[in-house]
Subunit: 298 residues, 2 copies
Amino acid sequence: MNGAMPRRARSALMALLLAAAAEPCPAATPAELVAAAPPSAWKAIDPETLIVLTIDGGPPVVLQLAPRFAPVHAANVRALVKAGWFDGAAVMRVQDNYVVQWARPGPRASLPAAVAARPPAEYERSAAGLAFRPLGFRDSYAAETGHAEGWPAAREGGRAWLVHCYGMVGVGRDVAPDTGDGTELYAVIGQAPRHLDRNIALVGRIVSGIERLAAEPRGTGPLGFYRDGERGLVIRSARLASDMPAGTQPRFEIMDEASPAFAAWVRARANRKDEFFIRPAGAVDICNALPPIRQGPP
Amino acid sequence: MNGAMPRRARSALMALLLAAAAEPCPAATPAELVAAAPPSAWKAIDPETLIVLTIDGGPPVVLQLAPRFAPVHAANVRALVKAGWFDGAAVMRVQDNYVVQWARPGPRASLPAAVAARPPAEYERSAAGLAFRPLGFRDSYAAETGHAEGWPAAREGGRAWLVHCYGMVGVGRDVAPDTGDGTELYAVIGQAPRHLDRNIALVGRIVSGIERLAAEPRGTGPLGFYRDGERGLVIRSARLASDMPAGTQPRFEIMDEASPAFAAWVRARANRKDEFFIRPAGAVDICNALPPIRQGPP
């Protein structure tokens, strides 16, 4: 995400500005602040929570699970991955400004033994015991939003939940709340459908490759489902990063929401003061303040 | 946009439900309410404000101008279209979760005589004389949001402005505010970048075909600009609908925000009560309440 809207002639200059990565100062852009954040502001993402989806014609798509919010669903997805369930799965639905959804094609197979067929709803959890850093700005949907242990979240009445921002991954279900076994997953590719919050289990997010999923052709069937003959992107294999040979495992870092650099970045997201901006908003929506994630350590 | 997240087995059932288009009732979905709205709830969109962009491999993309908010910019875009400026223009930037941007390739040509080279900023206007229907829910960025003469808008301190929702079209500019002559346009294809509100002129929206623009491959250069050799979608021609031969002009209708059907639809967007939903949000963001637009009259 970036705030400026340069005309063509400015793109080279803008690239230089971004590359400069100056020391933080009042007029630094959010991207400059991310580039200038010290190593201490970054935390490694646990490879036990990372799933690598290999696809044709591009780098893998990498998904991070959120076991602190949806432990049974996260365990289900892990168990499905370990059993090879998603090897050969395909995108079967792309609804514009909404979601991309994927699953194993063909008739329904028996679930691996380790998978809970009817997991609990896990749409929210107790706010107790969860580190939660309020964003400090109004939200249309919840009393309070903020960052909770690396995730965009909301909090209200002693409960906390993940919010449906761009790139978040949820578990498709039938009408009954306990029917989301993890075999059909979706990622958000449009304006945050926050009305889904607390109505369906979010189980993680795409940390790399969402731009590929979001650019897939929209399905022409109802709700963006592909019709017969429309062929969706195939997931050749899905592997836990921690099960991959050392040296081939992808590594990711997330900016620590408790770091001064993160606080400065949120302030800059809410108050754009670089040369392009005339009137800083003075506020930012939680889905426009998703924690910076990068590949690394180098 | 749709709220449900059916697993595959439910897609046929869901399609049937959508097709049924029952009379409005407390549990009707937003889509059902749109389908059931009476003809009196719909207003024709003035063909003088519609621009038809012909592209390869699909139906045209149709853009509606917003002269009530950005009259000089809208007049500029109209004059550019009439002069054939965008015939052969191409997408030159696709930044994921942000914007798609297009312009005429090659060296900069002289502007047609009718085009203002340095239009006023037009980032906001007086709220006086503008019909504004408050949405009635909190917003992260503005004191008040709502629907203003068919457009998603905000209002504060006697001023009103269009907001950067999915599909809205703005005018690229350089650093100086009066440099957006209309020759480079962008459409929002991700989470609403509301920090751009009042920092750049919004001049309209895509009323048909945003799903094609949003699915274009992301550019790999800085800010999503295409690098040399990355070829963007070409706009074969751009025409004012009102200049096209009668019988070939596209026609669109928008739901009248003053109609009871519109109010019922907003309530349903904020309080999903169909069988899939467990906990209605009780609120909706302005960018999740974009006025329904359809082709027609039939």
